[in-house]
Symmetry: C2
Amino acid sequence: MGRWQPGAQGRLQHAAMELIAERGYDRVTVAEIAERAGLTERTFFRHFTDKREVLFAGQEQFHAVILEALAATPVEMDALAAVVAGIAATGRWLDDERRPSSRARQAVIDAHPDLQERELIKLTRVSTAIAEVLRRRGVPDGEAALAADAGIAAFRLAFTAWVADPGEHDLPWHLDAAVEALRRVVA
Amino acid sequence: MGRWQPGAQGRLQHAAMELIAERGYDRVTVAEIAERAGLTERTFFRHFTDKREVLFAGQEQFHAVILEALAATPVEMDALAAVVAGIAATGRWLDDERRPSSRARQAVIDAHPDLQERELIKLTRVSTAIAEVLRRRGVPDGEAALAADAGIAAFRLAFTAWVADPGEHDLPWHLDAAVEALRRVVA
DNA sequence: TCGCTGATGTCAGCGACTGACATGCACGCT
DNA sequence: AGCGTGCATGTCAGTCGCTGACATCAGCGA
């Protein structure tokens, strides 16, 4: 066994969620999170650039899943359809088992402007990356950005509905519904 | 004459822009901004809730212009068309005279993730408010959110293009172009 | 003249975040 | 076995954003 307990990062995330559930995000200090995880404040900041970031770890995988699924899509496919197909791939990640924890996490985020800001910039970065892939496929600049943003807007709506949904439909279903609504609105 | 020089808030904004232009956003402390404005750090935080906020003052008016124009729109009008009409009203605000300062400001924001986060949440709040107006007009929940988000996406694209544009077209023109591109993408 | 208001100053303190340097197990190399 | 090196962590000191509590003092109305 190592000099240190393994899984420091995971312990920090776990400790953070616990403490936040007990007291709320802004009544928890980084030092306390680190202490509960058996570590130091300084070490916390070696694993997460930010206090907020402890709630967003794992988003890169999420990001990657979308981009892979998008890349796997046939090139002739309609830009928006391709984006939606990419986003739909998150359904494998955000399955029914994860719904309760997603709900809890989202409740924390919704209650804290700081965290909302972070969430928005993450989504924007995904959108930017999606647009870049589309451009490399020959989609014109503006259309690429709009297709990506439209896809993200649909995702946001679908995710909200999915989190609120007691279990009737899965995320891809809500995403389809959102895209239909989008077509209705823009048409 | 009063006990204090008038226009404290304006002086703080001015001092902030100067110092940021000289050194960059994160090499400027709030205390320095306040000092250049002939005030105290504490007073800075009485005028702006945040260090970032000094770059976003006046956004509420912006916000209000959009909502007023949206409200002034005929009720039978298509949801997205109404949103776009509301947003187009910012063209009166963001005229050719303001283009250089908008450009400078945007360059600062684009260089600092912190500021991007703030900008995104402001846009999201506008989007939320727009959606709420649409709902009160009878637009279904999801469609309202999507129409608002689509409008904001078009605005973002149009604004970027307008800022980069040396002076050929105004903001409403770019907005029209963006909406056309959006219809192309979603249709 | 007096007391109130409101913008500012002063002070002390917390908490997020950082740079520099120290520590000591584990693992590979000889 | 002995040795050196890497790497995750600890320690310490410091900066900066931000806040609460309290003081100050021109101007204004009663």
